[in-house]
Point group: D2
Chain length 164, copies 4
């Protein structure tokens, strides 16, 4: 018997509130991910997370939200989340977000997003950055796989290229 293949999981990380342009970009990313048959994983809240989930649902994709709270009441998922995982771990759930994604796309973002980028790189998970953080240190740790994209199309294209 051959092993059953699970779909790829693309994590989209970004701030829980954002302006209309970032929202639209995240929505586009969500659409493109679902169109290629991957599962969208995000933090389950508003802003970039909501926009990406909304885009994925528009294309009939499956959406996973890894929530910070212990319950629906503590951290209500946005309306476009199919499966809500209530971690009750607050920001420590950021580590679960990146572990459960095959590749991470970070779009703009606050310090939570920066932590997710760093946690992903720490465990060797590839990261695609779109209008997001830059970070430098000397000497830089080796071997991180970081791609800088300029458009949502390029971000999703590169994300799939990194895991195929």
């Amino acid at each position: 018997m051959t092993e059953r293949r699970r779909p790829k999981v693309i994590g989209v990380m970004g701030a829980s509130s954002c302006d209309a342009q970032v929202f639209h970009t995240a929505y586009q990313i969500g659409r493109l991910i679902a169109r290629r048959g991957a599962i969208l994983l995000c933090g389950g809240l508003g802003g970039v997370m909501e926009a990406a989930a909304k885009g994925a649902k528009h294309e009939g994709g499956l959406t996973i939200g890894i929530l910070p709270g212990s319950s629906e009441r503590e951290s209500p998922p946005n309306s476009f989340i199919d499966v809500a995982i209530f971690t009750g771990m607050s920001d420590a759930r950021n580590a679960i977000n990146v572990r459960s994604s095959d590749v991470v796309i970070a779009l703009w973002g606050g310090y939570g997003t920066l932590s997710e980028i760093a946690l992903a790189l720490k465990i060797g998970k590839p990261v695609v950055l779109l209008h997001s953080w830059t970070f430098e240190i000397s000497p830089r740790p080796p071997s991180a796989r970081i791609i800088i994209a300029q458009t949502p199309e390029e971000a999703v294209e590169q994300a799939f290229a990194l895991i195929e």
Copy 2:
């Protein structure tokens, strides 16, 4: 705009290895859960978790596995898991299992299952026990919702009754 309704999530907890009879019972539970349109959530490993996921997939249901390891390599999901969440938290993930389930069915089980029963009751989540742990203390903590079922059919029936 009305809120989008997510499907109910039924958690099935049990040991990662089991005999053929327990496996068959867990399989039946998984089938019945999926047939009623709920998502099956489990710990993603073998034994009761695999059997329940296999049953749910037989009926075309959606299955979630909350894994103890940080990656596929550290804790390979069983072949019937659609969405694998890699927590990297070992047994501390048991708290996430019960937080993310609307109701928990415990089938037989080891000490990990006992911890899940206890964590569920701690946060007021209802629990259905089938051939599982008994536990007593005097005085007993108030207000836990515990149902003792005798068959897989009764277990699933009671689980849905508790959350509808």
Copy 3:
């Protein structure tokens, strides 16, 4: 160079509120642990945790509290905690309590305590029960090290015997 020996860590688990008799018993346990030079670890809250920490401080011992909240404001440690670890993980911190203890003493307790007993046994950590939960399943998982004590003196004596 020889390895530096850290002191033994004894975890005392019990409910966050309790009557005067249980409080006094926990206080005695704390005193006896500190008198033997071990560190007292607990959940950092009130009830049994506060009583045990108070007893340990009365003997000049060191006390560690593993708190459920993310900050002092979310979960204020009791007044007898020297080192407060803010996990921000709610009940999932119960796994950390037992992992960080060399042996666990459970005194009476609610469902949180039952989860700690189970998590300890799951990872092979020895447990001493004093007026606490009884739990049965058939067949019972093998090889758990469980001692039933009748007095605080016996509980502490047995706890040290299990790890020396």
Copy 4:
């Protein structure tokens, strides 16, 4: 009755391996922290964490290590840790490191350290950077308290100034 004051906790974050110069700087930071009566908290491993703990012990301070593994065997604490907390959460323990520190000093560091800086800033915890990461985004999230220090003396001085 007045509340008992716990000592301040200073977190020192940095890579688990480092060159002799960084080691010496971390050692100095540890000495200065203990000399001022604060508890040193770190990730409990080698490199910067070991050096800072060694410095603190040289001055008779108390040292806490928040370890990634579930047990001594999985992640042995360095020889200068007084209290070892075994989280079993791998890098997700980085969130606990910053929650349990009143202020964070980051010295050089890899991606794990970058995640700790970001997690600290996310929850409004002040951060002192010494030869560590720079990070930029436009627009930058508001109100983070970040100090850039040039020497171990200045780093510790600023850390205490931020919390007094």
